[in-house]
Amino acid sequence: MNNAAEKKLALSHLWVAFAAFIVACFMGEYQVLERSGLFPSLESPTVYFASVSTHGVLMAFVLTTFFIMGFGYYIASTSLKQPVWNKPLAWGGFWLALFGVVLAAVPLLSGKASVLYTFYPPIVAHAAFYIGATLLVVGSWVWCAIMLVMFSQWKKANPGQNVPLAMFATAANALLWLWASAGVALEVLFQLIPFSLGWIDTIDPGLAKTLFAWTLHPIVYFWLIPTYTAFYVFVPKQAGGFLFSDEMARLAFVVLVVFALPIGFHHLYMDPEQAKGWKLLHGVGTFVVALPTLVTGFTVIASLEIAGRLRGGKGLFGWIGTLPWTNPMVLAVILALLMLIFGGFGGIVNASYAMNAMIHNTAWVPGHFHLIFAGTTVIMYLAVAYYLWPILVGKPLFSNSMALVQLWTWFIGMSVLTTPWHVLGLLGQPRRISTVVYNNLLTLSWKPYELMMILGGLILLGSACLFIYNLAKTQLTPLVGEFTAEIEYAEPIHAVGVLPEYLNDLKLWNKVIAILMAISFGYPILQFFFMKTFGSSVWGY
Protein backbone atom coordinates (compact mmCIF):
# COMPACT_ATOMS: atom_id res chain seq x y z
CA MET A 1 0.00 0.00 0.00
CA ASN A 2 1.44 3.37 -1.01
CA ASN A 3 0.69 5.55 1.98
CA ALA A 4 3.34 8.24 1.60
CA ALA A 5 0.75 10.96 2.22
CA GLU A 6 -0.33 9.31 5.48
CA LYS A 7 3.31 8.98 6.53
CA LYS A 8 3.88 12.68 5.96
CA LEU A 9 0.71 13.53 7.88
CA ALA A 10 1.70 11.33 10.83
CA LEU A 11 5.32 12.53 10.84
CA SER A 12 4.30 16.20 10.86
CA HIS A 13 2.06 15.66 13.88
CA LEU A 14 4.71 13.65 15.72
CA TRP A 15 7.43 16.27 15.17
CA VAL A 16 5.20 18.99 16.64
CA ALA A 17 4.51 16.69 19.59
CA PHE A 18 8.19 15.99 20.27
CA ALA A 19 9.27 19.59 19.70
CA ALA A 20 6.84 20.56 22.47
CA PHE A 21 8.23 17.69 24.58
CA ILE A 22 11.87 18.77 24.43
CA VAL A 23 11.09 22.43 25.16
CA ALA A 24 8.97 21.36 28.14
CA CYS A 25 11.79 19.13 29.45
CA PHE A 26 14.17 22.11 29.64
CA MET A 27 11.51 24.06 31.50
CA GLY A 28 10.97 21.19 33.92
CA GLU A 29 14.62 21.16 34.91
CA TYR A 30 14.62 24.94 35.36
CA GLN A 31 11.63 24.58 37.67
CA VAL A 32 13.24 22.07 40.04
CA LEU A 33 16.39 24.22 40.13
CA GLU A 34 14.43 27.40 40.85
CA ARG A 35 12.22 25.83 43.50
CA SER A 36 15.14 24.30 45.39
CA GLY A 37 16.30 27.72 46.57
CA LEU A 38 19.93 26.73 45.96
CA PHE A 39 20.38 29.13 43.05
CA PRO A 40 19.30 32.61 44.13
CA SER A 41 20.04 34.06 40.69
CA LEU A 42 17.36 31.83 39.19
CA GLU A 43 14.66 32.78 41.66
CA SER A 44 11.71 34.58 40.16
CA PRO A 45 8.10 33.69 40.92
CA THR A 46 7.04 35.45 37.70
CA VAL A 47 9.31 33.38 35.47
CA TYR A 48 8.62 30.25 37.52
CA PHE A 49 4.85 30.35 37.06
CA ALA A 50 5.15 31.29 33.39
CA SER A 51 7.44 28.28 32.99
CA VAL A 52 5.22 25.89 34.96
CA SER A 53 2.18 26.98 32.94
CA THR A 54 4.00 26.56 29.62
CA HIS A 55 5.55 23.23 30.72
CA GLY A 56 2.11 21.89 31.66
CA VAL A 57 0.41 23.08 28.49
CA LEU A 58 3.19 21.74 26.25
CA MET A 59 3.29 18.33 27.92
CA ALA A 60 -0.36 17.78 28.74
CA PHE A 61 -2.00 19.38 25.73
CA VAL A 62 0.48 19.77 22.86
CA LEU A 63 2.66 16.64 23.13
CA THR A 64 -0.38 14.46 23.78
CA THR A 65 -2.84 15.88 21.28
CA PHE A 66 -0.41 15.96 18.36
CA PHE A 67 0.99 12.53 19.22
CA ILE A 68 -2.48 11.01 19.49
CA MET A 69 -3.57 12.59 16.19
CA GLY A 70 -0.47 11.51 14.27
CA PHE A 71 -0.49 8.03 15.77
CA GLY A 72 -4.22 7.72 15.13
CA TYR A 73 -4.00 8.70 11.46
CA TYR A 74 -1.32 6.09 10.84
CA ILE A 75 -3.11 3.39 12.85
CA ALA A 76 -6.36 4.06 10.96
CA SER A 77 -4.71 3.97 7.57
CA THR A 78 -2.64 0.83 8.20
CA SER A 79 -5.07 -1.23 10.27
CA LEU A 80 -8.03 -0.57 7.96
CA LYS A 81 -5.75 -0.69 4.89
CA GLN A 82 -7.29 2.41 3.39
CA PRO A 83 -6.22 6.03 2.95
CA VAL A 84 -7.04 8.63 5.59
CA TRP A 85 -10.47 10.02 4.80
CA ASN A 86 -10.45 13.65 3.63
CA LYS A 87 -6.75 14.46 3.93
CA PRO A 88 -7.24 18.20 3.24
CA LEU A 89 -9.51 18.28 6.28
CA ALA A 90 -6.89 16.40 8.32
CA TRP A 91 -4.25 18.95 7.31
CA GLY A 92 -6.72 21.72 8.12
CA GLY A 93 -7.07 20.29 11.62
CA PHE A 94 -3.29 20.11 11.95
CA TRP A 95 -2.72 23.74 10.94
CA LEU A 96 -5.62 24.97 13.05
CA ALA A 97 -4.28 23.17 16.12
CA LEU A 98 -0.75 24.42 15.43
CA PHE A 99 -1.98 27.99 15.00
CA GLY A 100 -3.80 27.60 18.33
CA VAL A 101 -0.58 26.49 20.01
CA VAL A 102 1.37 29.46 18.63
CA LEU A 103 -1.41 31.85 19.64
CA ALA A 104 -1.46 30.45 23.20
CA ALA A 105 2.34 30.46 23.39
CA VAL A 106 2.58 34.24 23.08
CA PRO A 107 0.82 35.07 26.38
CA LEU A 108 2.31 31.99 28.04
CA LEU A 109 5.89 32.97 27.29
CA SER A 110 5.31 36.64 28.04
CA GLY A 111 3.90 35.88 31.49
CA LYS A 112 0.34 36.87 30.63
CA ALA A 113 -1.07 33.36 31.00
CA SER A 114 0.57 32.11 34.19
CA VAL A 115 -2.59 30.28 35.17
CA LEU A 116 -1.10 26.75 35.13
CA TYR A 117 -2.40 24.10 32.81
CA THR A 118 -5.67 23.76 34.74
CA PHE A 119 -6.38 27.53 34.39
CA TYR A 120 -8.79 27.63 37.32
CA PRO A 121 -10.58 30.98 37.70
CA PRO A 122 -10.73 33.48 39.25
CA ILE A 123 -7.10 33.85 38.12
CA VAL A 124 -7.36 34.87 34.53
CA ALA A 125 -5.08 34.78 31.51
CA HIS A 126 -4.92 36.90 28.37
CA ALA A 127 -7.77 35.98 26.02
CA ALA A 128 -5.30 34.77 23.37
CA PHE A 129 -4.40 31.87 25.66
CA TYR A 130 -7.98 30.61 25.89
CA ILE A 131 -8.65 31.21 22.19
CA GLY A 132 -5.44 29.39 21.24
CA ALA A 133 -6.31 26.46 23.51
CA THR A 134 -9.79 26.35 21.96
CA LEU A 135 -8.34 26.18 18.44
CA LEU A 136 -6.09 23.31 19.55
CA VAL A 137 -9.14 21.43 20.82
CA VAL A 138 -11.15 22.21 17.66
CA GLY A 139 -8.24 20.85 15.60
CA SER A 140 -8.40 17.67 17.66
CA TRP A 141 -12.16 17.43 17.03
CA VAL A 142 -11.36 17.30 13.31
CA TRP A 143 -9.21 14.25 14.06
CA CYS A 144 -12.03 12.69 16.11
CA ALA A 145 -14.48 13.19 13.24
CA ILE A 146 -12.10 11.62 10.71
CA MET A 147 -11.45 8.62 12.97
CA LEU A 148 -15.15 8.00 13.54
CA VAL A 149 -16.00 8.45 9.83
CA MET A 150 -13.27 5.95 8.87
CA PHE A 151 -14.49 3.53 11.54
CA SER A 152 -18.06 3.80 10.31
CA GLN A 153 -17.17 3.60 6.59
CA TRP A 154 -15.08 0.49 7.16
CA LYS A 155 -17.89 -1.20 9.08
CA LYS A 156 -20.36 -0.43 6.29
CA ALA A 157 -17.97 -1.76 3.66
CA ASN A 158 -17.16 -4.89 5.69
CA PRO A 159 -20.43 -6.05 7.27
CA GLY A 160 -20.09 -8.86 9.78
CA GLN A 161 -16.33 -8.43 10.09
CA ASN A 162 -14.45 -7.41 13.20
CA VAL A 163 -12.95 -3.95 13.24
CA PRO A 164 -9.19 -4.35 13.80
CA LEU A 165 -8.39 -3.97 17.49
CA ALA A 166 -6.05 -1.02 16.89
CA MET A 167 -8.79 0.90 15.10
CA PHE A 168 -11.42 -0.07 17.67
CA ALA A 169 -9.20 1.45 20.38
CA THR A 170 -8.46 4.57 18.31
CA ALA A 171 -12.12 5.20 17.51
CA ALA A 172 -13.01 4.60 21.17
CA ASN A 173 -10.45 7.24 22.11
CA ALA A 174 -11.94 9.69 19.59
CA LEU A 175 -15.38 9.15 21.13
CA LEU A 176 -13.92 9.57 24.61
CA TRP A 177 -12.25 12.84 23.68
CA LEU A 178 -15.39 14.29 22.10
CA TRP A 179 -17.26 13.65 25.34
CA ALA A 180 -14.38 14.66 27.60
CA SER A 181 -13.56 17.95 25.90
CA ALA A 182 -17.18 19.14 25.99
CA GLY A 183 -16.83 20.14 29.67
CA VAL A 184 -13.80 22.36 29.26
CA ALA A 185 -15.20 23.72 25.98
CA LEU A 186 -18.30 24.97 27.83
CA GLU A 187 -16.11 26.49 30.55
CA VAL A 188 -13.82 28.27 28.08
CA LEU A 189 -16.52 29.48 25.70
CA PHE A 190 -19.08 30.69 28.23
CA GLN A 191 -16.91 31.67 31.18
CA LEU A 192 -13.20 32.18 30.55
CA ILE A 193 -13.13 33.87 27.14
CA PRO A 194 -15.94 36.35 28.02
CA PHE A 195 -14.27 37.00 31.40
CA SER A 196 -10.82 37.52 29.90
CA LEU A 197 -12.23 39.87 27.26
CA GLY A 198 -14.01 41.91 29.93
CA TRP A 199 -17.48 41.09 28.58
CA ILE A 200 -18.53 39.90 32.03
CA ASP A 201 -17.52 41.18 35.43
CA THR A 202 -17.90 38.07 37.54
CA ILE A 203 -17.23 34.39 37.19
CA ASP A 204 -18.35 31.36 39.17
CA PRO A 205 -15.24 29.31 40.03
CA GLY A 206 -17.44 26.49 41.38
CA LEU A 207 -19.13 25.98 38.03
CA ALA A 208 -15.81 26.38 36.22
CA LYS A 209 -14.13 23.72 38.37
CA THR A 210 -17.12 21.39 37.94
CA LEU A 211 -16.92 21.73 34.15
CA PHE A 212 -13.15 21.26 34.23
CA ALA A 213 -13.57 18.16 36.43
CA TRP A 214 -15.80 16.79 33.62
CA THR A 215 -12.71 16.92 31.39
CA LEU A 216 -9.88 16.46 33.86
CA HIS A 217 -10.12 12.76 34.50
CA PRO A 218 -11.07 11.38 31.07
CA ILE A 219 -8.33 13.50 29.49
CA VAL A 220 -5.87 11.27 31.35
CA TYR A 221 -7.33 8.26 29.57
CA PHE A 222 -7.29 10.14 26.26
CA TRP A 223 -3.53 10.37 26.79
CA LEU A 224 -3.25 6.79 28.06
CA ILE A 225 -5.26 4.93 25.40
CA PRO A 226 -2.52 5.17 22.72
CA THR A 227 -0.15 3.68 25.30
CA TYR A 228 -2.57 0.82 25.99
CA THR A 229 -3.09 0.45 22.23
CA ALA A 230 0.67 -0.04 21.80
CA PHE A 231 0.61 -2.50 24.72
CA TYR A 232 -1.98 -4.63 22.94
CA VAL A 233 -1.22 -4.29 19.24
CA PHE A 234 2.56 -3.89 19.05
CA VAL A 235 4.18 -5.36 22.18
CA PRO A 236 3.17 -9.05 21.80
CA LYS A 237 4.52 -9.16 18.25
CA GLN A 238 7.71 -7.31 19.17
CA ALA A 239 8.26 -9.74 22.03
CA GLY A 240 7.94 -12.66 19.63
CA GLY A 241 4.55 -13.92 20.81
CA PHE A 242 0.84 -13.39 20.56
CA LEU A 243 -1.83 -11.25 22.15
CA PHE A 244 -3.35 -13.21 25.02
CA SER A 245 -6.92 -12.10 24.31
CA ASP A 246 -8.36 -9.73 21.71
CA GLU A 247 -11.76 -9.76 23.43
CA MET A 248 -10.33 -8.79 26.83
CA ALA A 249 -8.51 -5.90 25.18
CA ARG A 250 -11.75 -4.60 23.66
CA LEU A 251 -13.56 -5.00 26.95
CA ALA A 252 -10.81 -3.03 28.69
CA PHE A 253 -11.12 -0.18 26.17
CA VAL A 254 -14.90 -0.11 26.52
CA VAL A 255 -14.79 0.05 30.32
CA LEU A 256 -12.05 2.69 30.15
CA VAL A 257 -14.04 4.90 27.84
CA VAL A 258 -17.35 4.49 29.63
CA PHE A 259 -16.10 4.83 33.21
CA ALA A 260 -13.36 7.40 32.65
CA LEU A 261 -16.02 10.04 32.06
CA PRO A 262 -18.47 10.21 34.99
CA ILE A 263 -15.86 10.25 37.80
CA GLY A 264 -14.14 13.65 37.75
CA PHE A 265 -15.24 14.80 41.20
CA HIS A 266 -12.37 12.97 42.88
CA HIS A 267 -10.48 16.12 41.88
CA LEU A 268 -12.99 18.10 43.96
CA TYR A 269 -12.99 16.11 47.21
CA MET A 270 -11.90 19.20 49.14
CA ASP A 271 -14.04 21.68 47.16
CA PRO A 272 -17.22 23.09 48.66
CA GLU A 273 -19.34 23.42 45.51
CA GLN A 274 -20.36 19.76 45.29
CA ALA A 275 -22.11 17.73 47.97
CA LYS A 276 -20.42 14.72 49.53
CA GLY A 277 -22.90 12.24 48.00
CA TRP A 278 -21.87 13.24 44.49
CA LYS A 279 -18.23 13.01 45.44
CA LEU A 280 -18.78 9.52 46.85
CA LEU A 281 -20.53 8.44 43.63
CA HIS A 282 -17.62 9.68 41.54
CA GLY A 283 -15.19 8.14 44.02
CA VAL A 284 -16.76 4.69 43.57
CA GLY A 285 -16.59 5.15 39.78
CA THR A 286 -12.91 5.97 40.13
CA PHE A 287 -12.25 2.54 41.60
CA VAL A 288 -14.28 0.93 38.79
CA VAL A 289 -12.00 2.51 36.20
CA ALA A 290 -9.01 0.86 37.88
CA LEU A 291 -10.37 -2.51 36.68
CA PRO A 292 -9.53 -2.11 32.97
CA THR A 293 -6.01 -1.15 33.99
CA LEU A 294 -5.75 -4.40 35.94
CA VAL A 295 -7.16 -6.29 32.94
CA THR A 296 -4.64 -4.53 30.69
CA GLY A 297 -1.79 -5.36 33.05
CA PHE A 298 -2.86 -8.99 33.12
CA THR A 299 -3.34 -9.32 29.35
CA VAL A 300 -0.07 -7.63 28.47
CA ILE A 301 1.98 -9.57 31.02
CA ALA A 302 0.31 -12.81 29.90
CA SER A 303 1.24 -11.94 26.30
CA LEU A 304 4.83 -11.34 27.43
CA GLU A 305 4.82 -14.64 29.34
CA ILE A 306 3.77 -16.52 26.20
CA ALA A 307 6.51 -14.77 24.23
CA GLY A 308 9.12 -15.54 26.91
CA ARG A 309 8.12 -19.21 27.06
CA LEU A 310 8.19 -19.49 23.25
CA ARG A 311 11.76 -18.18 23.51
CA GLY A 312 12.67 -20.98 25.91
CA GLY A 313 11.79 -19.51 29.30
CA LYS A 314 10.93 -22.08 31.98
CA GLY A 315 9.52 -22.01 35.50
CA LEU A 316 7.25 -19.51 37.18
CA PHE A 317 9.30 -16.44 36.27
CA GLY A 318 12.06 -17.81 34.00
CA TRP A 319 10.29 -16.36 30.95
CA ILE A 320 11.08 -12.82 32.09
CA GLY A 321 14.80 -13.28 31.43
CA THR A 322 14.27 -14.69 27.94
CA LEU A 323 12.25 -11.71 26.71
CA PRO A 324 14.02 -9.56 24.09
CA TRP A 325 15.09 -6.77 26.45
CA THR A 326 17.08 -5.17 23.62
CA ASN A 327 13.90 -4.41 21.71
CA PRO A 328 12.95 -0.82 22.67
CA MET A 329 9.22 -1.58 22.64
CA VAL A 330 9.60 -4.58 24.95
CA LEU A 331 11.95 -2.74 27.30
CA ALA A 332 9.60 0.24 27.37
CA VAL A 333 6.53 -1.83 28.24
CA ILE A 334 8.34 -3.50 31.15
CA LEU A 335 9.47 -0.13 32.49
CA ALA A 336 6.03 1.39 31.81
CA LEU A 337 4.30 -1.37 33.78
CA LEU A 338 6.72 -0.93 36.69
CA MET A 339 5.92 2.78 36.82
CA LEU A 340 2.21 2.01 36.44
CA ILE A 341 2.31 -0.15 39.60
CA PHE A 342 3.70 2.66 41.74
CA GLY A 343 1.79 5.43 39.96
CA GLY A 344 -1.38 3.39 40.19
CA PHE A 345 -0.90 2.96 43.92
CA GLY A 346 -0.52 6.73 44.28
CA GLY A 347 -3.73 7.16 42.31
CA ILE A 348 -5.61 4.79 44.62
CA VAL A 349 -4.48 6.88 47.59
CA ASN A 350 -5.67 10.03 45.79
CA ALA A 351 -9.02 8.43 45.10
CA SER A 352 -9.52 7.24 48.68
CA TYR A 353 -12.05 9.72 49.97
CA ALA A 354 -10.67 10.06 53.50
CA MET A 355 -6.96 9.61 52.83
CA ASN A 356 -7.09 12.18 50.07
CA ALA A 357 -7.16 14.80 52.83
CA MET A 358 -3.61 13.83 53.75
CA ILE A 359 -2.11 14.46 50.32
CA HIS A 360 -4.58 16.87 48.72
CA ASN A 361 -2.83 19.76 46.98
CA THR A 362 0.53 18.56 48.25
CA ALA A 363 3.64 17.66 46.25
CA TRP A 364 2.33 14.05 46.23
CA VAL A 365 -0.11 15.01 43.45
CA PRO A 366 2.41 16.20 40.81
CA GLY A 367 4.61 13.26 41.90
CA HIS A 368 1.73 10.92 41.09
CA PHE A 369 0.78 12.39 37.75
CA HIS A 370 4.35 12.69 36.57
CA LEU A 371 4.88 9.00 37.32
CA ILE A 372 1.72 7.94 35.49
CA PHE A 373 1.82 10.45 32.63
CA ALA A 374 5.47 11.30 32.04
CA GLY A 375 6.41 7.81 33.15
CA THR A 376 4.02 5.13 31.92
CA THR A 377 2.35 7.11 29.14
CA VAL A 378 5.26 9.05 27.70
CA ILE A 379 7.77 6.17 27.77
CA MET A 380 5.42 4.30 25.45
CA TYR A 381 5.10 7.39 23.21
CA LEU A 382 8.90 7.26 22.97
CA ALA A 383 8.89 3.53 22.21
CA VAL A 384 6.19 3.99 19.56
CA ALA A 385 8.34 6.72 18.00
CA TYR A 386 11.35 4.37 17.87
CA TYR A 387 9.12 1.78 16.22
CA LEU A 388 7.39 4.10 13.76
CA TRP A 389 10.28 6.39 12.75
CA PRO A 390 12.04 3.85 10.50
CA ILE A 391 8.69 3.05 8.87
CA LEU A 392 7.74 6.70 8.40
CA VAL A 393 11.09 7.96 7.09
CA GLY A 394 12.13 4.76 5.27
CA LYS A 395 15.47 4.48 7.07
CA PRO A 396 16.72 2.24 9.90
CA LEU A 397 16.81 3.62 13.43
CA PHE A 398 20.07 5.53 13.87
CA SER A 399 21.03 3.70 17.07
CA ASN A 400 19.15 0.94 18.84
CA SER A 401 21.59 0.94 21.75
CA MET A 402 21.12 4.69 22.19
CA ALA A 403 17.36 4.07 22.30
CA LEU A 404 17.84 1.48 25.05
CA VAL A 405 20.06 3.81 27.08
CA GLN A 406 17.50 6.55 26.59
CA LEU A 407 14.60 4.40 27.82
CA TRP A 408 16.55 3.20 30.87
CA THR A 409 17.60 6.74 31.76
CA TRP A 410 14.02 7.97 31.34
CA PHE A 411 12.90 5.30 33.80
CA ILE A 412 15.72 6.01 36.26
CA GLY A 413 15.26 9.77 35.98
CA MET A 414 11.52 9.50 36.51
CA SER A 415 12.03 7.29 39.57
CA VAL A 416 14.62 9.68 41.04
CA LEU A 417 12.33 12.65 40.34
CA THR A 418 9.01 11.32 41.55
CA THR A 419 9.97 9.30 44.64
CA PRO A 420 11.10 12.38 46.60
CA TRP A 421 8.11 14.27 45.21
CA HIS A 422 5.76 11.76 46.85
CA VAL A 423 7.75 11.91 50.10
CA LEU A 424 7.62 15.71 50.06
CA GLY A 425 3.84 15.48 49.78
CA LEU A 426 3.69 13.28 52.86
CA LEU A 427 5.99 15.78 54.60
CA GLY A 428 3.43 18.48 53.89
CA GLN A 429 4.99 20.42 51.03
CA PRO A 430 2.22 22.19 49.10
CA ARG A 431 2.14 21.86 45.35
CA ARG A 432 2.31 24.87 43.04
CA ILE A 433 4.76 26.94 45.06
CA SER A 434 7.72 28.73 43.55
CA THR A 435 10.01 28.55 46.56
CA VAL A 436 10.52 26.46 49.69
CA VAL A 437 12.95 28.75 51.49
CA TYR A 438 11.27 29.66 54.76
CA ASN A 439 14.17 28.50 56.96
CA ASN A 440 12.27 26.55 59.52
CA LEU A 441 12.76 22.94 60.55
CA LEU A 442 9.91 21.70 58.37
CA THR A 443 11.18 23.23 55.14
CA LEU A 444 14.79 22.36 55.94
CA SER A 445 13.72 18.70 56.07
CA TRP A 446 12.59 19.08 52.44
CA LYS A 447 16.08 20.01 51.20
CA PRO A 448 17.56 16.54 50.48
CA TYR A 449 14.47 15.64 48.47
CA GLU A 450 14.72 18.84 46.44
CA LEU A 451 18.33 17.94 45.63
CA MET A 452 17.27 14.48 44.48
CA MET A 453 14.64 16.05 42.24
CA ILE A 454 17.26 18.23 40.59
CA LEU A 455 19.28 15.11 39.82
CA GLY A 456 16.19 13.29 38.52
CA GLY A 457 15.34 16.24 36.29
CA LEU A 458 18.88 16.36 34.91
CA ILE A 459 18.79 12.66 34.03
CA LEU A 460 15.43 13.14 32.32
CA LEU A 461 16.65 16.16 30.36
CA GLY A 462 19.70 14.25 29.11
CA SER A 463 17.45 11.34 28.21
CA ALA A 464 15.04 13.58 26.29
CA CYS A 465 17.97 15.10 24.32
CA LEU A 466 19.16 11.59 23.39
CA PHE A 467 15.67 10.78 22.15
CA ILE A 468 15.43 13.82 19.88
CA TYR A 469 19.00 13.30 18.64
CA ASN A 470 18.24 9.69 17.71
CA LEU A 471 15.08 10.60 15.81
CA ALA A 472 16.74 13.52 14.01
CA LYS A 473 19.75 11.41 13.03
CA THR A 474 17.45 8.63 11.82
CA GLN A 475 15.66 11.06 9.55
CA LEU A 476 18.66 13.09 8.38
CA THR A 477 21.27 10.39 7.86
CA PRO A 478 21.44 9.44 4.16
CA LEU A 479 20.15 5.97 3.42
CA VAL A 480 22.79 3.47 2.36
CA GLY A 481 21.36 0.54 0.38
CA GLU A 482 17.80 -0.67 0.57
CA PHE A 483 15.50 -0.41 3.56
CA THR A 484 11.85 -1.32 3.90
CA ALA A 485 9.79 -1.68 7.03
CA GLU A 486 6.07 -2.14 7.51
CA ILE A 487 3.94 -1.80 10.58
CA GLU A 488 3.15 -5.19 12.15
CA TYR A 489 0.14 -5.82 14.36
CA ALA A 490 0.07 -8.59 16.94
CA GLU A 491 -2.14 -11.61 16.32
CA PRO A 492 -4.23 -13.10 19.12
CA ILE A 493 -3.38 -16.62 20.29
CA HIS A 494 -6.79 -17.87 19.28
CA ALA A 495 -8.46 -16.60 16.12
CA VAL A 496 -11.29 -14.23 16.99
CA GLY A 497 -14.73 -15.36 15.81
CA VAL A 498 -17.54 -12.99 14.97
CA LEU A 499 -17.70 -10.56 17.86
CA PRO A 500 -20.91 -9.29 19.43
CA GLU A 501 -21.70 -5.73 18.41
CA TYR A 502 -20.91 -4.41 21.88
CA LEU A 503 -17.27 -5.40 21.31
CA ASN A 504 -17.21 -4.27 17.69
CA ASP A 505 -19.11 -0.98 17.70
CA LEU A 506 -19.41 2.10 19.87
CA LYS A 507 -23.04 3.15 19.37
CA LEU A 508 -24.34 1.31 22.43
CA TRP A 509 -21.52 2.70 24.58
CA ASN A 510 -22.19 6.21 23.38
CA LYS A 511 -25.73 5.89 24.73
CA VAL A 512 -24.49 4.41 28.02
CA ILE A 513 -22.06 7.33 28.39
CA ALA A 514 -24.88 9.82 27.76
CA ILE A 515 -26.95 8.24 30.53
CA LEU A 516 -24.06 8.06 33.01
CA MET A 517 -23.00 11.65 32.30
CA ALA A 518 -26.59 12.86 32.78
CA ILE A 519 -26.72 11.07 36.13
CA SER A 520 -23.31 12.11 37.42
CA PHE A 521 -23.06 15.66 36.06
CA GLY A 522 -26.69 16.67 35.40
CA TYR A 523 -27.76 17.96 38.78
CA PRO A 524 -24.24 18.99 39.91
CA ILE A 525 -24.14 21.44 36.98
CA LEU A 526 -27.81 22.46 37.00
CA GLN A 527 -27.62 23.40 40.69
CA PHE A 528 -25.54 26.45 39.77
CA PHE A 529 -28.47 27.77 37.79
CA PHE A 530 -30.86 27.34 40.73
CA MET A 531 -28.82 28.72 43.60
CA LYS A 532 -28.68 32.41 44.50
CA THR A 533 -25.54 34.04 43.16
CA PHE A 534 -25.87 37.51 44.71
CA GLY A 535 -26.10 39.93 41.84
CA SER A 536 -24.66 37.80 39.08
CA SER A 537 -26.01 35.10 36.82
CA VAL A 538 -24.29 31.76 36.93
CA TRP A 539 -22.27 32.47 33.79
CA GLY A 540 -21.42 35.89 35.20
CA TYR A 541 -23.34 37.92 32.61
Binding site: F242, F244, L294, G297, F298, I301, A302, E305, I306, R309, L310, R311, G312, G315, L316, F317, W319, I320, T322, I341, G344, F345, I348, V349, S352, A354, M355, M358, L426, I493
Partner: protein, 47 residues
Amino acid sequence: MEQITEEERKSILESSPVGTFALMATVVGGMVFAWLFLYYGVFLPRG
Protein backbone atom coordinates in the same frame (compact mmCIF):
# COMPACT_ATOMS: atom_id res chain seq x y z
CA MET B 1 17.18 -18.12 22.54
CA GLU B 2 16.44 -21.79 23.13
CA GLN B 3 14.75 -23.73 20.31
CA ILE B 4 11.50 -25.42 21.25
CA THR B 5 9.71 -28.32 19.60
CA GLU B 6 6.34 -27.97 17.88
CA GLU B 7 4.77 -29.96 20.71
CA GLU B 8 6.23 -27.59 23.32
CA ARG B 9 5.02 -24.62 21.31
CA LYS B 10 1.48 -25.99 21.19
CA SER B 11 1.58 -26.69 24.92
CA ILE B 12 2.76 -23.15 25.69
CA LEU B 13 -0.01 -21.59 23.59
CA GLU B 14 -2.64 -23.70 25.34
CA SER B 15 -1.35 -23.35 28.89
CA SER B 16 -2.50 -20.88 31.55
CA PRO B 17 -0.20 -17.93 32.21
CA VAL B 18 0.69 -19.04 35.73
CA GLY B 19 3.62 -16.63 36.00
CA THR B 20 1.28 -13.75 35.20
CA PHE B 21 -1.22 -14.89 37.84
CA ALA B 22 1.60 -15.04 40.38
CA LEU B 23 2.92 -11.60 39.41
CA MET B 24 -0.53 -10.02 39.46
CA ALA B 25 -1.32 -11.57 42.84
CA THR B 26 1.97 -10.22 44.20
CA VAL B 27 1.33 -6.73 42.84
CA VAL B 28 -2.28 -6.56 44.06
CA GLY B 29 -1.26 -7.99 47.43
CA GLY B 30 1.56 -5.47 47.69
CA MET B 31 -0.80 -2.62 46.85
CA VAL B 32 -3.33 -3.70 49.48
CA PHE B 33 -0.55 -3.99 52.07
CA ALA B 34 0.89 -0.58 51.13
CA TRP B 35 -2.57 1.03 51.25
CA LEU B 36 -3.26 -0.45 54.70
CA PHE B 37 0.18 0.66 55.91
CA LEU B 38 -0.44 4.20 54.70
CA TYR B 39 -3.95 4.28 56.17
CA TYR B 40 -3.18 2.78 59.58
CA GLY B 41 0.49 3.70 59.79
CA VAL B 42 0.50 7.27 58.50
CA PHE B 43 -2.99 8.70 57.97
CA LEU B 44 -4.80 7.68 61.17
CA PRO B 45 -1.89 8.51 63.54
CA ARG B 46 -1.93 12.06 62.19
CA GLY B 47 -5.43 12.44 63.60
